[in-house]
């Protein structure tokens, strides 16, 4: 199986490459990156002129809902959505039903991912049994079954002693602990960002402090233990500042931000649109600017989608009753291009670093580079293609997006896993 990608602009931050050249893939691995590779019989060719060719995008924060909530998403539909969004791999959060706190569920999710033959699916297992925040899971078994990280995402580990033990114990496995940083005593009852808009709408607020207090605690625990801490969905000025200061002190921590947190403010909640109900909530203009600055200066290491599909029935209710979450796999790349690259906040190298290089490095995953010999997980992006987000065309079962109807530029044309094209944009869909 041979694939020749011709004349694309290859951006691979891992080898400091940004040049127009060709890539040859043989048997699922990158064989050569060179000019004027000769086409041979039996080689499939892609003309990538005018397109960006980069290591496949990796989402370290996806909710696939299977097992237990297949009406929202399955591993298959989630992997298809990932492929359509340009992602060659996703890390699946463990808040399924039952929770992925045992090797059976972790193996099941992994196997479903293999069966789907689309984007790679890497399970993340729970930190604590049932994600109840009390008792550590059997980490050795979970790693053996394929878990690439631990997280109780959706719930914080409120008990600081448990979080300390988790960070200490997982040093044995060099496993990242992904923190959902939220102090529940400060966020209790809140449904959106606490501020002028929540006051006007009469909705209970989640203060920025709820995130910042928890981020500070987890940074201190990580510094004390030497465990590998990855802070999920950073959304406030204060949290970005805390991460920056910790990194200046030399703390070995990483952090991510989600596209909706650099694309929308809490003003979007006006009108009680439940597709804007997300946790952490959409914040203020200043918070959005801080997240963008954090990404552009490297304080925040990763852009992750926090893809959280819900059914229409669950979202089509009073704002207070709707579950938190929006779908992101199929809009993330276009939001990065439209909201970060085109306005000049990021260049392409930075964007690829945040979307692929760093996720692979931090979570120790295959891919993340196009160095010869590496897995041929490749995303080919048309940076100029403009499309209107149409939620009815999503591969995900989730339609809960606040971006429906938005015109965005920069979409994946091809998604390639192990040298096999798993997504090719249908020209009729634009």
């Amino acid at each position: 199986m041979k694939l020749l990608i011709r004349g694309g602009r290859i951006i691979d931050p891992a080898q400091a490459m940004d040049k127009v050249t060709d890539i040859l893939v043989i048997n699922g691995k990158v064989e050569t990156v060179a000019n004027n590779i000769e086409a041979r019989e039996g080689m499939k060719e892609i003309d990538a002129e005018g397109l960006i060719v980069c290591p496949g995008l990796i989402d370290v924060h996806t909710h696939l809902r299977e097992p237990g909530q297949e009406h929202k998403e399955t591993v298959f539909t989630g992997a298809a959505a990932a492929a359509a969004g340009g992602y060659t791999a996703v890390c699946a959060m463990p808040n399924t039903d039952p929770v992925a706190d045992n090797q059976t569920v972790v193996s099941f999710v992994k196997q479903r991912g293999i069966n789907a033959q689309l984007s790679r699916v890497y399970p993340i297992a729970a930190i604590t049994k049932g994600s109840q925040g009390q008792e550590l899971t059997e980490v050795g078994d979970l790693v053996g079954a394929g878990a690439v990280a631990l997280s109780d995402d959706g719930q914080p580990v409120m008990n600081a002693a448990v979080m300390r033990r988790a960070l200490e114990y997982t040093k044995l496995f060099s496993l990242p602990i992904v923190s959902h940083a939220e102090d529940k005593t400060l966020s209790a009852g809140g449904v959106m960002h606490e501020g002028e808009v929540s006051t006007r709408l009469g909705l209970s607020g989640i203060p920025a402090l709820a995130e910042e207090v928890a981020v500070m605690r987890d940074i201190l625990l990580a510094e004390a233990t030497g465990g590998q801490l990855h802070l999920a969905h950073i959304s406030t000025v204060g949290a970005v500042n805390l991460v920056r200061q910790a990194k200046l002190r030399g703390a070995n921590i990483t952090a991510e931000a989600a596209p909706h947190h650099f694309s929308l403010t809490h003003q979007a909640v006006d009108g009680y649109h439940t597709d804007t109900k997300v946790n952490p909530p959409l914040r203020t203009e200043a918070d959005v600017e801080a997240v963008i600055k954090g990404l552009s200066e490297g304080t925040l290491d990763v852009i992750a989608t926090d893809h959280a599909p819900h059914s229409m029935e669950e979202k089509d209710v009073e704002f207070d009753l709707a579950p938190f979450g929006l779908v992101g796999l199929e809009t993330a790349l276009a939001l990065v291009v439209s909201k970060l690259i085109r306005p000049g906040h990021l260049n392409w190298t930075q964007a690829v670093t945040l979307l692929s290089t760093n996720p692979a490095r931090i979570f120790k995953l295959p891919g993340g580079t196009l160095t010869p010999g590496s897995e041929a997980d490749i995303t080919i992006i048309n940076p100029d293609l403009e499309r209107t987000v149409t939620k009815e065309l999503f591969k995900s079962k989730g339609r809960n997006t606040p971006f429906d109807g938005w015109k965005l530029q920069g979409w994946a044309e091809y998604t390639i896993v192990s040298g096999k094209i798993i997504f090719q944009r249908n020209s009729k869909e634009g």
Binding site: E194, G195, E196, V197, S198, T199, R200, L201, G202, L203, S204, G205, G271, Y272, D316, V317, E318, F319, D320, L321
Partner: protein, 312 residues
């Protein structure tokens, strides 16, 4: 001018002229309430449904009487006894009510934004009778009516609202209504009961009642809910009453002839001392009467009143 809106969901989007239209229409409605026979046939053959997801004897009775005085058939549905407890969604309940032929649905709901969902789902007219901590437009309209009735005009007045601003839909609606009509609004509450960014709605924030009351033309005390204290938002009802309770000494700081309002029911000895609650400055009973008049006016306008129809 004529009423153009399908629903009355909030005061935030209303113009000054729309608010004045409601207040002006309520004047003749109050005359009807004063008659021996308090009934006009204006809404005969119309059906008004009170859909109350939260218990509220005052507001529900006020709407019910308003409907009956206008000749409409009124039906009360309490959510606790309805299919809601069986898991039916608000939208489905709304559709059911619509196909039963309701002309107007009056919704009281514990969650902000619920009337908007209802209004977008049904062709019936929808009136918000209080949604979570968002708005309670008819309560604010009756407050505006009561103030205007006593003071002649609202423009230029200083109105001080005292109490649990954080959870008060009455305060939010009053801020919109009062500022649109040209009044200055002062809010006074313990810092823990003052929502962030409330000044961006156009009000001035105080923590000490003595400062806020000075020079006020109207003082509106809000009901304190005892469970707020249990949540630790303030130390005790006793301390609240001591610092924020409106008594004669505090009321004396306001202008001579200052009006005292309260949406009721009063916790006597907490928000208001007995003496001020029953003083000549108190308009609390008048508010209740005016509530019926204002709600009659709203029903009249929403049902197409003012397009050549008379109310007699």
């Amino acid at each position: 001018m004529r009423w153009q809106r399908k629903d009355l969901l909030a005061l935030e989007p209303l113009t000054r002229d729309e608010i004045n239209l409601i207040l002006d229409t309520a004047v003749p409605m109050k005359d009807i309430i004063r008659r021996d026979i308090k009934k006009v046939p204006t809404l005969r053959g119309r059906t008004v449904i009170n859909l109350f997801y939260e218990p509220s004897t005052r507001t529900r009775t006020s709407f019910e009487l308003a409907g009956k005085y206008m000749g409409a058939d009124t039906v009360n549905i309490a959510a606790s006894g309805s299919s809601v407890v069986k898991g039916e969604t608000l939208k489905d309940t709304a559709k059911t009510i619509q196909v039963m032929g309701a002309d107007v649905v009056i919704l009281r709901h514990g969650m902000a934004g619920a009337p908007k969902i209802l209004a977008e789902t049904v062709t019936s007219r929808v009136i918000n009778a209080g949604d979570g901590t968002h708005e309670h437009p008819t309560q604010a309209l009756l407050d505006l009516f009561t103030i205007r009735e006593s003071k002649g005009s609202i423009a230029g007045l200083t109105v001080t609202i005292v109490g649990d601003i954080l959870h008060s839909r009455v305060a939010r609606s009053n801020i919109w209504g009062l500022t649109k009509l040209g009044a200055k609004v002062r809010l006074v509450a313990p810092p823990t009961l003052m929502p962030p960014g409330i000044e961006q709605l156009g009000a001035e924030v105080f923590y000490r009642p003595e400062e806020a009351l000075a020079g006020s033309d109207v003082v509106m005390a809000l009901r304190i809910q005892k469970e707020r204290q249990q949540k630790g938002l303030f130390p005790s009802l006793r301390e609240y009453a001591k610092i924020y309770g409106i008594n004669q000494e505090r009321l004396a700081l306001a202008k001579d002839g200052c009006l005292l309002l309260h949406p009721g029911p009063i916790n006597r000895g907490i928000e208001l001392s007995n003496t001020v609650a029953d003083s000549i400055q108190s308009r609390i009973n008048e508010q209740v009467t005016n509530g019926v008049a204002v709600r009659m006016a709203i029903l009249f306008l929403l049902m197409g009143g003012g397009k050549g129809e008379t109310i007699n």
